[in-house]
C-alpha cells in the first residue's frame, strides 16, 4: 500500500524522532562510511584491483573472510547449544552462567587475546597437550578461529535465547504425540522456528569477526601470507603511510561484508514473514 511520505500521526513526536534518527545515522554511521567510499572512489578501479590482488593482501582477505565465516558458524551452533541449556534446563547457578555469557562483550579484546594466547601457546595449559597431539593452536589460523568463536558466541546466545523462551512447549508435545522422534521434532518443528534468530546470531558474529583486531593480533602471530588478518594489514598500511592501500582494502571489506549481511537479512525476512502472523 502506498502512503504519503508524511502522514498525520496520532503518536506525538514523530518529527523529532525521525530527525534524531537521521542525524544519528548520518553523523555516526553514514559519514565515516561515506568518507571511506569517497576516498576509494577517487582511486582508479584498476589501482584498487592491483592492490587487492597482491598476494599478501589477497591472502589476508581470504583468511579474514574464511575464518569469520567458519567461526560465526561454529559460534552459532555452540550458541544454540548454550541457549538451549540455559533456557530449557534449570541448572544450578544458571544466573551466574547467564552473566558469564556476556563477559566477552565486556572484556577488552586485548585482554581476551592475551589470555587466549597464554592458554593456547605451545607452553600453555591447553596449548601443550594440544601441541603434543599435533594440533598447534596459537600462532595458526585455528588460533584466530578460537578467538573469533570466543567473541562470537554471546551474539548467538543472546539472539537465540528470547526465541527459545517464546516457543510454546505444547508444540513439541504435539510433535511427540504425533509420533515424531526428538530428532524429527527438532529438524521439522524447532529448527525452522530458530532459523531467523540463528541467522541473526551468525551475521552478528560474522560482522564482529570480520573486523576483530585486538584479540587476534596476539594469538595469530601475524605471519604474512599465513596468519595475517585484513584489519591488521590495514593498520600496517596506515603505519607505513600507505593510505591508498589501506583504503582499497577497507573498501573491499566493507562492500563484501555489506553484501553478505544483506543476503542474511533477506534470508531472515523470508523466514520471519509467514510466522509473524501466527
Amino acid at each position: 500500500m502506498k502512503r504519503p511520505a508524511v502522514e498525520p500521526r496520532i503518536l506525538p513526536g514523530f518529527g523529532p524522532a525521525l530527525g534524531f534518527t537521521l542525524l544519528w545515522l548520518s553523523v555516526v554511521v553514514l559519514a565515516p562510511l561515506a568518507a571511506l567510499v569517497l576516498s576509494a572512489l577517487r582511486m582508479p578501479p584498476a589501482e584498487i584491483a592491483r592492490i587487492v590482488a597482491a598476494p599478501r593482501v589477497a591472502a589476508s582477505i581470504r583468511l579474514t573472510f574464511g575464518l569469520a565465516l567458519a567461526s560465526a558458524a561454529v559460534a552459532a551452533l555452540l550458541g544454540l547449544l548454550l541457549a538451549w541449556v540455559l533456557v530449557r534446563h534449570r541448572l544450578p547457578g544458571r544466573r551466574l552462567l547467564d552473566a558469564l555469557i556476556d563477559l566477552p562483550f565486556a572484556l577488552p579484546t586485548a585482554v581476551a587475546g592475551i589470555a587466549l594466547t597464554t592458554l593456547y601457546a605451545p607452553n600453555g595449559w591447553l596449548g601443550r597437550p594440544l601441541a603434543a597431539l599435533g594440533v598447534p593452536v596459537a600462532f595458526t589460523p585455528l588460533g584466530i578461529g578460537v578467538a573469533l568463536v570466543f567473541l562470537g558466541i554471546p551474539f548467538a546466545v543472546r539472539t537465540l535465547e528470547p526465541v527459545l523462551e517464546s516457543l510454546d512447549p505444547e508444540v513439541e508435545d504435539a510433535a511427540t504425540s504425533l509420533g515424531a522422534t526428538a530428532g524429527q521434532t527438532f529438524r521439522r518443528v524447532l529448527f525452522p522456528e530458530l532459523l531467523p534468530a540463528l541467522a541473526t546470531g551468525f551475521s552478528l558474529a560474522f560482522a564482529r569477526g570480520l573486523g576483530e583486531y585486538g584479540s587476534v593480533v596476539f594469538i595469530s602471530g601475524n605471519m604474512p601470507m599465513r596468519t595475517e588478518v585484513a584489519p591488521l594489514l590495514i593498520m600496517t598500511r596506515l603505519e607505513q603511510y600507505d593510505y591508498a592501500g589501506a583504503t582499497a582494502l577497507a573498501a573491499v571489506l566493507l562492500v563484501a561484508s555489506f553484501l553478505l549481511l544483506l543476503a542474511v537479512n533477506r534470508l531472515q525476512a523470508w523466514g520471519v514473514g509467514p510466522a509473524a502472523r501466527g
Binding site: 510454546d168 505444547e170 508444540v171 508435545d173 504435539a174 510433535a175 511427540t176 504425540s177 504425533l178 509420533g179 515424531a180 522422534t181 524429527q184 521439522r188 518443528v189 525452522p192 522456528e193 509467514p274 510466522a275 509473524a276 502472523r277 501466527g278
Partner: protein, 358 residues
C-alpha cells in the same frame, strides 16, 4: 479401545495435583473431565497421553498397561488448548505431519498422504484451506485443523485439553455441537478436559468431576445434575443459593426456612446448609406457609432468562432466575418486597471442606 486409570497420584514439588485417581472410559465413549482450574484435570490427561509420568498408579489401554511406553507408541491423538499448530507449515503439512514422521517402512506413499489429508480436511470442513498457514485462520478453524492433525495418525483414543477454551462464546458453542456430531460419526474413545460445566453437560456421555486432585463424582450428565452427591458438585454445576443453619429432630432449620430432614432424627443439632438453584426459586407478592420476604435490588436480562437479585432481611443476597413468561406474569419492580419460596431445597450436612466460594 477403552482407557483405564488406576490409582494415579502425581505431585509437582509440594503441590499434589492428583490423589489416587481412578476412572474408566469405555470403548467409543465421550467423557468429560470437569473441574475448576488447579483440580488436576490437565495433569491427568497428560499422564494418559504419556506426556507426563505418574508418581504412582497405572494407565491401561484396552486392559494393557501402557506405563513404560513412549507417548509415540501409545497411538493417541492429542488436541491442545492453544492448538499448538506448527506455524511454519501449511494446514496440509500440519495434518500430514504424523504420517511423514513415521518410520520409513510404515510411511504411506505421497498419494496416500494426499488422499488421507484431503479426507480429514473434508471431515473437519476445511478442505479449501489446505495451503494456508495457521496464522491465516480463525481460532475455530485452527482448532479443527488441530483435530484433523490428531486424527491423521489413526489414534486409538482421542484426548482433548480444553479444546474450546480459547475460543469466543459463539464459536465455542458451535464447535462443541460439531464435536458431538463428529464423535457420533466416528465413535472414537474420547476424553476431554473442560472447566465449563455447560460444555460438559451438553457434549459428554459421562462426566468425571474433579476437585483438588480427587474424583468427586462420576456419572452421566443427568445424574450429576439431578443427584449431586456433595454441595461442591451442586455448586459447580449451576448457580446456587446457600442457606446456612442446622439440622435437629428430623428438621432442617436454615435461617428463615424450615424443611423436613428425616436423615437426622437426633435431638443434637448438626451444622448444615440448604442449597437452592437460582431457577428453583418462586417469587410472589403474598406470603405462604414457608418462605421469607426479600426486597428486589436488581433485574438483569440474560437472553431468555431474567436474572434477579434479592436482599432478604439480615441475610446474604439471593440470585434468582425467571423465565420471561414468569417475569411478565409477576412484573416485579426494583425496591419491591417479594415472598421467596425455594422450590427444591437440597440439604447437606456441613462438611469439614467448605464448598467452593462463589
Amino acid at each position: 479401545m477403552s482407557i483405564e486409570v488406576l490409582g494415579v497420584t502425581k505431585s509437582f514439588g509440594s503441590f499434589t495435583a492428583l490423589r489416587d485417581v481412578s476412572l474408566t472410559v469405555a470403548d467409543g465413549e465421550l467423557v468429560a473431565l470437569l473441574g475448576p482450574s488447579g483440580s488436576g484435570k490437565t495433569s491427568l490427561l497428560r499422564i494418559i497421553a504419556g506426556l507426563e509420568r505418574a508418581d504412582r498408579g497405572s494407565v491401561l489401554f484396552h486392559g494393557t498397561d501402557v506405563g513404560p511406553r513412549d507417548p509415540r507408541e501409545r497411538r493417541i491423538g492429542f488436541v491442545f488448548q492453544h492448538y499448538a499448530l506448527f506455524r511454519r507449515m501449511t494446514v496440509f503439512e500440519n495434518v500430514a505431519f504424523g504420517m511423514r514422521v513415521k518410520p520409513r517402512g510404515e510411511r504411506p506413499s505421497e498419494e496416500e498422504v494426499r488422499r488421507r489429508v484431503g479426507d480429514l480436511l473434508k471431515l473437519v470442513q476445511l478442505d479449501w484451506l489446505g495451503d494456508r498457514l495457521p496464522g491465516e485462520l480463525s481460532g475455530g478453524q485452527r482448532q479443527r485443523v488441530a483435530l484433523a492433525r490428531a486424527l491423521a495418525v489413526e489414534p486409538r483414543v482421542l484426548l482433548l485439553d480444553e479444546p474450546f477454551g480459547s475460543l469466543d462464546a459463539r464459536v465455542r458453542q458451535e464447535l462443541r455441537r460439531w464435536l458431538r456430531r463428529l464423535h457420533d460419526e466416528i465413535r472414537l474413545t474420547s476424553l476431554f478436559v473442560t472447566h465449563d460445566q455447560e460444555e460438559a453437560l451438553e457434549v459428554a456421555d459421562r462426566i468425571v468431576l474433579l476437585n483438588q486432585g480427587r474424583v468427586v463424582q462420576d456419572g452421566p450428565p443427568e445424574e450429576l445434575f439431578e443427584r449431586p452427591t456433595s454441595p461442591f458438585v451442586l455448586d459447580f454445576l449451576g448457580n446456587v443459593n446457600i442457606f446456612h443453619g442446622r439440622v435437629e429432630n428430623g428438621r432442617a432449620l436454615l435461617g428463615p426456612l424450615s424443611v423436613a430432614y428425616p436423615d437426622h432424627p437426633h435431638a443434637e443439632p448438626a451444622p448444615a446448609a440448604g442449597y437452592a438453584r437460582s431457577y428453583e426459586i418462586d417469587l410472589s407478592r403474598e406470603a405462604g406457609d414457608t418462605g421469607f420476604w426479600a426486597s428486589l435490588t436488581r433485574v438483569g436480562i440474560a437472553g431468555a432468562l431474567l436474572r434477579l437479585e434479592l436482599l432478604p432481611d439480615g441475610a446474604a443476597p439471593l440470585k434468582v432466575e425467571l423465565t420471561r413468561e414468569r417475569f411478565e406474569a409477576l412484573r416485579p419492580v426494583p425496591g419491591e418486597r417479594l415472598w421467596v419460596v425455594p422450590r427444591n431445597l437440597r440439604v447437606f450436612l456441613e462438611t469439614p471442606v467448605p464448598p467452593r466460594a462463589q
